[in-house]
Each structure stands twice: as structure tokens, then as C-alpha cells.
Point group: C2
């Protein structure tokens, strides 16, 4: 095992908060494999680099000899939001949950070490609770404290209804921690309240309380919003190597170090060197971004795929004579997605000043003069999903280029 | 069956609120026996006239042909207050609950018609709920609405903690209404929120929602505080006829009509006549109070016992030459109960100006010169429970009297 200091350095790299750090030190000093919990909702089957942030942190724990307890929240997913107010929490069938969970685990295993991963389903313990157990469980929490939670406080202030069942969920998640005897629980910064609820419940039950470790949210390729499928600003874990490399090359310069820290296995010490090199101008941002893109592709494919993707990336630009320095536009600034999420390309071309009217744009597309990353677009097809447009170069004729971010 | 108007008159007499009255009329117009729910906590085994108020109203419903559903809250009583904050809600053993419930039912049956009473225990349905059912149940209620409840709002404002389990209780009580398909639910004015929660839940489940009927709290013999064992201002349902009659004679004049309405079976029309008679001075308050006392004793004993109690009451005064018109004092104004609730009589005598000092008072008691309702007090005994002092005449020597209220 690594020394306490080495462990701490790795664990702390990229974290937002560790509450309390003293407890983590104490637990690490015990020299035993810690049980590190992550709870996941089996609702979003397709993972992206944002989802991978806590998984990468879990992998670091595994590499240090610790055990990951991955909890699939099948119990609450089956119930969904019975008040019908929250459309992002639909009730899922057991089949859907199994399928989503299998997809999740398959993707997570690109990052995690399956030999050090304990996979659990929280219905195992939550479905055994009866009303009396629930009452006893809830007695550990107070209304005032629960409503201090950011999202609840905000909704109360805005007089938006909070259903009573919603305030049962933090307690359920806390009970997960009790059930798996977690030493550490990971989550996004927006999850700190839930993680602390788990810590408090364990304390009240006379258990050694878990340490809460939060990770920052990763901004997407637009550099502003958090990475999310609905913003179209993501790099999916199952994307092809070429696509992944191309998208990674569109990561804003100012986010490169954050991506190195949160999304690659590059060691903290090396990241500090890269950061220093950028600051001292001894490293060129483009070279650093290529390294970042290669690291990401290597992680989800392999080193050979990364080399090939980089070569393909260069070839596109060379073959199609795309200049290295071309204007950029954020997709959300130039496109208004329809209800099904698709963008109408002729309107986008007008917005980017690549055509004077939508009808001219359609004529250009139909005439084979419009390309995405050098590939001519099919005649008569005008609708494109944002995922197909982000990080690519839109080209009209020989000389008009714009890189969509 | 009585006419709709007759039913309404009887049901409305003495009620605080009927929400909504239109629904009650509609239900009564259906001409079927309504199911009238009362939920009781099996914690207080000794009932008094305050507890009897909703029971009397239930009896009126029974006399009109309706059915009473008496729900023993054994489920929540078994759990108590797991947070340990609320000492008035201790966890009870199944044996204690059975015993308390049996005592309750025996006393309630002095008022109710057992042939039209359906006795239910809410563990029957509440113990079958699992966590998923609880989540679905809670989804029917919102946090904001629940916290508008008077007692919760007050505690939040005072920053006193409310445990999360406490906000599960109103939903449990609401689920009781669903389970027994209540047409009407009765409660004190402080219970309106819970009754309305039941109504809402039934509505959301597509059932005909229950009507909520609240009854005012009955002030005790002191005329100020609500009748309660802890204030010593009560008439217990199991008290002897003489004691009951004597205590009833100490009911403040201004509460007589309220007691007739809420605590006796005298019909509304006759109560209106009595009220008019008092106002017109054609009825003497003392005669009306005797009638009230007889009605109460008749209810819990029988008419013969009432006549005998009245004779005994008169005899005490006659034998001991207690004048009819003597000064009165409220016990709480002249006595400071010790921690065990007992009052130190010598201090009380000083406060009532029946002795100049506590040592003189002790000498008077030890000399046999102090009487309660004409009976000389034992030598060397100075501590008396409030129940033994309320409604009695304290006499020192031949000429000093005071009636304690």
C-alpha cells in the first residue's frame, strides 16, 4: 500500500470537499481496505465524462487498495415520483432498471476495477422496511435541517411544492450507508447534504461515521454548463475514438487542467508540471490539448486507438485544407433545437453567416458544397442532432469554415 | 330515521365547525347509515368529561341510525416518539396498549351504543405498509401545507426541532380514513388539519371524501384551562356519583350551557329553553346547576344514583350547617402544588385567610377543627391531591367556610 501521504495526495486531487479530513486520515491510518460508496440512479443509461468523475475517484481508491461499493438505486427508481410533478423521475419497470443498470456497470467497468467492486441494489434493504421502521428512521432527522438543503430551500422560497415523499429520499440514501457500512461516500458538490445525512445516521446508530467526499461538477465542451446530454456538450464514454478525440480537442483551453484532474489517470504531480509549463509558455496549449485528448481516448479505448484518432484528426484538417485557426461558434448561440432536439442546419448556417438565407443554405447543402469535418453532407437532409454538430468543423465551399463548440 | 333537518340540528349542536356542511347534507340525504370515525390514542386510560365530548357526539350519530368506527391508534402508540423528544408519547408495549384500549372502550361504552360501534385497530392496515407504500402515500401531501399546521408552524417559528417522523403521523391518520371508508371524522378543533388531510387523501384516491366535524375543547371546573387530568380540573367518567355531583355543582355558572350541550344528552331545544330561562331570570342558576349535575350523574350512573347524590350533597351542607351562599376560591389561586401534584393544606389555609400562619393551620388541623365537606381532617396529614380539594367546602371551626373550585 502507498503511504498515508501518497494516499491523501491522490484522494484529495480534484476533490471539492472532504468532510471531515481528520476522519479520512484516521481511517486511512488503520491500514485496512476502506469501503467507498457511490450511489447511482439507474435512469441515465448513457454515461459521459461528467459521470466518470466520481468513477475515476473510485478507481483511485481501488488502486490504493480500497473497495468500492457501487449501489444501484433500484428501490427508488421503481417508485419514481408518485406525485407526478417531477418528470425526470419516472417510475421504471424492473426490466428497465436491470437493463439500465447493466449498461451502467458495463460502462463503469471501463474505469473501475471489477475485482475490487461490490455491486449492490438498495432494494435489498430498503424493501424490507415497514412503516414502523420508516418512522423510526425518520426520527433521526429534523424538518428544519432537511429544509436547509439548497434545492428544498430554493423551492420553498419560490413557493414551489415539495411533496412529503421527497424528504424521505435523503433518509433512504442515508440508510444505504448504514446498510453497506460505508467508510467514505462520494458525490457531486450538490450531494453534500445527502452524504452528511448518511454520516449523521451512522453516528446515531453508534457506527463509525462515513467521510463525505464531494467532487466538482465538470463543465461541458461549451465551458459553461455542466456536462449533460441535454446540453449536447458532452463526451460519451462509448463514443468512437475519432469522435472522442475531436470533441476533446474542442475543450476550452481554460478547462484543460480540470479535465486532466477529473477525467484522466494522469498523476497529480505531472498535472502540476503541465500547469506550470502552460503558465511559463514552455508548453503550447494545442500540444497539451492533444495530450489530453489522447489520455481520454486511451482510457476508454486504448493507446493505439488514441494515436490513430489523432492521425485521423490531422488528416481531416490536412485533406480538407482546413486552416488551423478558424472562427468558432457555440452551438447554443447559433442553433435553436426543435422539440425532438434536432437542429435545422440551414438556419444555423444563416446565423453563422455561411449563407444569406435558409433557401440558399438548402441549395448549398443539396449541391454538395457543405461539409462537416470535411465530409460532404447528404442532399435533402437538413436536421442534425446537436451531438453530431458539437466539436466539428462546418465548411461551406473551399474557404468558409467555422468550428462548432 | 329522523328528518334531514332534525338530524342536522342535533349534529350541529355544540360543534365548532363542519367542513363542508354541504357535503354532510348530501351524505345525510342519501338515507344510508353513515360511517363516523373517531381515532383515539390508547395512552390515557382514565377518561373525563372532556374526552366524552366527541363520544357524546358519536352517540348522537348512533341515535340517528349511523355507525361509529372507533379506531384505536395502536400502531403509532407502539412506536411512540423514537426521537425521544416528546415525553408525552412514550412507546407502549402491546400489553399496555391492549389494557389501555380495554379500559377506554369500557368507559366509552357508558356513552356509545356498542351495537352500532365498529372497533378497529389501525395496525390492521398501517402495519401492512412497506417503505414503497409510505413513499406513495406521502406523495399526496406537500411540505409547505403540512408545515402550515398550527403546532408545526409555532415550533418552526420558535426554532424548536420537529422530527421528520412527526410529519408522517398526519398521513397515517389520513390513511386510517381511507381504510375504514369514513363518511365523517370527528376531532377537537386542534385536530382540523389532520381531519382535512384525511379528506384530501380520500379525494385523491377517487373516494367520496369525509366530512370533518370539530368540537370545541371543554374548559374544566376552573372555567379557564381545558379539562385535563394534569390541571386537576376534571370530572372523571368512573368517579363515584357523590363525587361527580359535588364536582358538577362547582362548574362555573357561565359554562353551564356549554356543559349541557357538550356533556349531557339534553336535547338542543330544551337547552335553548334553559338558556332563555336563565337570561329572563325565570330559572335560578342553582336549580339549573342541580339539573346539570343530575344529568351528568344519570349518564354515568343512573337516575336513582343522581337523586341519592343530590340528597347526600344537601345533607352534607345541612348536617354541617354549611350556609348556601359562601365565598369561593379557585384552587389554582390559593395553592401551589408540589412536584408530585400534592397541595400543602396549611399554606392554602393561609392563602384563604382561614389561618394566620402555617403553624396555626397545622394546629387547627391536628385539633380536629378543619373539615372538608363536613368531614374532620386526620391529625398530622397536611398534603392533599387537588382532586380531593376541587368542588369541596373547606371549613374551619363553626363559622369559616370557603368553597374550592
Amino acid at each position: 500500500m502507498a503511504s498515508l501521504e501518497e494516499q491523501l495526495e491522490l484522494i484529495q486531487s480534484g476533490t471539492a470537499e472532504i468532510v471531515p479530513l481528520a476522519d479520512l486520515k484516521k481511517k486511512l491510518a488503520e491500514g485496512r481496505p476502506l469501503r467507498v460508496k457511490l450511489g447511482v440512479d439507474p435512469t441515465a443509461p448513457d454515461l459521459h465524462l461528467g459521470h466518470a468523475v466520481p468513477l475515476r475517484k473510485l478507481r483511485q481508491f481501488q488502486d490504493l487498495g480500497h473497495v468500492v461499493v457501487l449501489i444501484i438505486g433500484d428501490f427508488t427508481a421503481r417508485i419514481g415520483d408518485p406525485s407526478g410533478r417531477n418528470t425526470t423521475r419516472p417510475a421504471l419497470s424492473p426490466e428497465q432498471i436491470s437493463e439500465n443498470a447493466a449498461t451502467f456497470v458495463a460502462q463503469a467497468n471501463k474505469i473501475l476495477n471489477p475485482d475490487r467492486t461490490e455491486l449492490r441494489w438498495n432494494s435489498e434493504w430498503l424493501s424490507t422496511l415497514d412503516f414502523a421502521d420508516v418512522i423510526r428512521l425518520m426520527a433521526n432527522f429534523t424538518v428544519a435541517h432537511t429544509l436547509e438543503r439548497d434545492d428544498f430551500a430554493k423551492r420553498l422560497a419560490e413557493q414551489k411544492p415539495i411533496s412529503l415523499h421527497e424528504i424521505l429520499y435523503p433518509a433512504a440514501v442515508a440508510f444505504d450507508s448504514v446498510s453497506v457500512e460505508a467508510d467514505v461516500e462520494l458525490g457531486g458538490t450538490d450531494q453534500l447534504f445527502n452524504l452528511l445525512a448518511g454520516r449523521e445516521l451512522m453516528e446515531k446508530r453508534g457506527m463509525a461515521p462515513q467521510v463525505c467526499l464531494t467532487l466538482p461538477l465538470l463543465e461541458g465542451l461549451d465551458g459553461v454548463q455542466k456536462m449533460s446530454k441535454s446540453y449536447g456538450n458532452y463526451i460519451g464514454l462509448t463514443e468512437g475514438a475519432d469522435e472522442m478525440f475531436g470533441k476533446a480537442m474542442s475543450i476550452p483551453d481554460e478547462l484543460m487542467i480540470k479535465y486532466f484532474t477529473l477525467a484522466t489517470p494522469v498523476a497529480p504531480a505531472e498535472i502540476r508540471q503541465i500547469e506550470a509549463g502552460l503558465r511559463a509558455d514552455t508548453l503550447h496549449p494545442n500540444a497539451v490539448k492533444r495530450r489530453l485528448a489522447r489520455e481520454i481516448v486511451t482510457l476508454y479505448h486504448d493507446a493505439a486507438a488514441a494515436t490513430a484518432a489523432e492521425a485521423a484528426f490531422d488528416l481531416v484538417f490536412k485533406q480538407h485544407e482546413i486552416p488551423a485557426d478558424i472562427p468558432e461558434a457555440k452551438l447554443k448561440d447559433v442553433a435553436t433545437p426543435a422539440e425532438d432536439g434536432a437542429c435545422y442546419l440551414p438556419a444555423l448556417m444563416v446565423a453563422c453567416k455561411l449563407a444569406s438565407s435558409a433557401s440558399e443554405a438548402r441549395r448549398l447543402i443539396d449541391g454538395g458544397g457543405v461539409r462537416l469535418n470535411g465530409e460532404p453532407l447528404a442532399k435533402g437532409v437538413y436536421q442534425y442532432q446537436p451531438a453530431a454538430l458539437v466539436g466539428v468543423v462546418l465548411q461551406v465551399g473551399k474557404r468558409k469554415f467555422i468550428r462548432l463548440l
